[in-house]
């Protein structure tokens, strides 16, 4: 069903700063699928969200003909499976390459993201510093993965963005905003040259320009989040 979703079939329950939501928007745009954005207030989650994701109560949730699919990268895989004719496949065709792509997406979720969130929201300076170090280790590992997987081309998937590009691409807004918020430059051409170049290349894709919010808005949001977290930590001392 190429271009499907225009009849209100696809709805994305999201929250504008979430990198996980950005991943899904990116995939939808790369595949040329139209959808309706439903902005959730995470402080006051809708009945629809709670009913659609009763286990985690989290965004993003994709509703396809009213049926919910949860977890950002599972949603991306679902889009490939459910809309095989639409735009480009996000996952490659070869089974081994698919396994490698899923592996690195899982690494981003299980190693990179937890370090990143702690680097921003850690309760002590020591915790934040340790988490920042962990984030750099994860980025250096991803630099190696990019060198290995890209075959000298511009994206993790080769000459066009694919699964891992989307998995990490959801974070490009945050990665750009990071030094405005913390003073630390995460994507440093000196440390991870391939990744720094990749981020610029990815951010200039049409899909990224429309899916990723303005970096200054994200920076403002991140600062507010950090302030709230610090206040909560201080209050509980």
């Amino acid at each position: 069903m190429a271009g499907g979703g225009g009849d209100g079939q696809l709805r994305l329950l999201g929250f504008w700063p979430s990198p996980f939501v950005h991943r899904v928007s990116l995939a939808l745009r790369l595949k040329g699928l139209s959808y309706e954005n439903v902005e959730e207030d995470l402080g006051n989650k809708s009945e629809l969200l709670l009913a659609s994701n009763p286990v985690h109560k989290k965004i993003p949730v994709l509703l396809h003909g009213g049926r919910p699919v949860c977890e950002s990268m599972l949603i991306v895989e679902y889009l490939d499976d459910a809309f095989p004719g639409a735009g480009q496949a996000v996952l490659p065709a070869d089974p081994y390459d698919r396994a490698a792509a899923r592996f690195w997406a899982a690494y981003i979720d299980n190693k990179f993201f937890p370090a990143l969130i702690k680097a921003l929201m850690g309760t002590t300076e020591e915790e934040k510093a340790a988490a920042t170090a962990d984030t750099f280790v994860a980025l250096e590992t991803l630099e190696g993965a990019l060198a290995e997987r890209s075959g000298g081309e511009g994206f993790f998937a080769g000459d066009a963005p694919g699964f891992v590009d989307v998995a990490l691409g959801g974070f490009v807004g945050w990665l750009s905003a990071w030094d405005k918020v913390t003073g630390v430059k995460l994507l440093d051409a000196g440390r991870t040259p391939l990744l720094a170049a990749w981020a610029e290349r990815f951010a200039s894709l049409d899909a990224a320009k429309s899916a990723i919010p303005d970096v200054d808005r994200i920076a403002e949001f991140a600062k507010a989040l950090q302030a709230r977290s610090a206040a909560a930590a201080a209050a509980s001392d």
């Binding site: 049926r67 699919v69 599972l74 499976d81 089974p95 081994y96 698919r98």
Partner: protein
């Protein structure tokens, strides 16, 4: 790759539920493979370190020498690389998405279970609450069906079954009885245990409990 061993090799550890998922999958698909027991408490082998440099963990499937890591990814790989063998995942895209969701969710049983036997006091109590939530969610998803997807044994059953021999131990540490709290899940576990591929892959609960004691000693936990 010249000189690389042809065929399938599974780097695994006898009691690993993640490795067992792969063993069940290989058996369900009727695929021949070499089982290679790895050292996890002592030094890891060169082969394991080379095959999974990022996580240094089992299971790893080597196919003609090329490594595939992470149990659920290995299962996907088996379906995709061996399309002429019985599929582990359903064909329908929505059913696949649901199967993936619940299989991934079930990883929490082991994650939370580990906190349950390792931690004490308030942290253990929190782990207990989390385990009750996870098992409740799995029980809710199973409902009154024979298996997670309905009448037939499928991907989610395969993913969750290896955790069942750990449940009696978790129940002891957490002060709950799976049989009493979630009888449908308990019945489902017995149903899965009757399946040959599962029976051949799983360890009995007594051995699992013994192993938890070994891990406790290894971590310096003495109670």
């Amino acid at each position: 790759m010249a000189g690389e061993k042809k065929g399938l090799v599974l780097l695994d550890y006898w009691v690993s539920p993640f490795g067992q998922r792969c063993r069940i999958g290989l058996a369900e698909k009727g695929l021949e493979y070499e089982y290679s027991e790895q050292e996890l408490l002592g030094d890891r082998s060169e082969l394991l370190l080379r095959s999974n440099p990022v996580h240094k963990a089992v299971p790893v499937l080597l196919h003609d020498g090329r490594p595939v890591c992470e149990s659920l990814l290995i299962l996907h790989y088996l379906d995709e690389a061996f399309p002429n063998s019985p599929p582990l995942l359903p064909a329908d895209p929505y059913a696949r998405a649901q199967a993936r969701f619940w299989a991934a969710y079930s990883d929490k049983v082991y994650e939370v279970g580990t906190r349950l036997w390792k931690l004490r006091g308030e942290e253990q109590a929190r782990a207990r609450d989390d385990m009750v939530e996870v098992l409740g969610n799995l029980d809710g998803e199973l409902g009154d069906k024979a298996f997670f997807a309905g009448e037939a044994f499928g991907f989610v059953d395969l993913a969750v079954a290896p955790f069942t021999p750990w449940l009696p131990s978790y129940g002891r540490y957490g002060g709950f009885s799976v049989e009493r709290e979630w009888p449908r899940l308990a019945a489902w576990a017995r149903r899965c245990a009757g399946r040959e591929s599962v029976a051949k892959s799983l360890q009995p609960p007594e051995k699992v409990d013994e192993y938890i004691n070994v891990l406790k000693k290894h971590c310096g936990i003495n109670d």
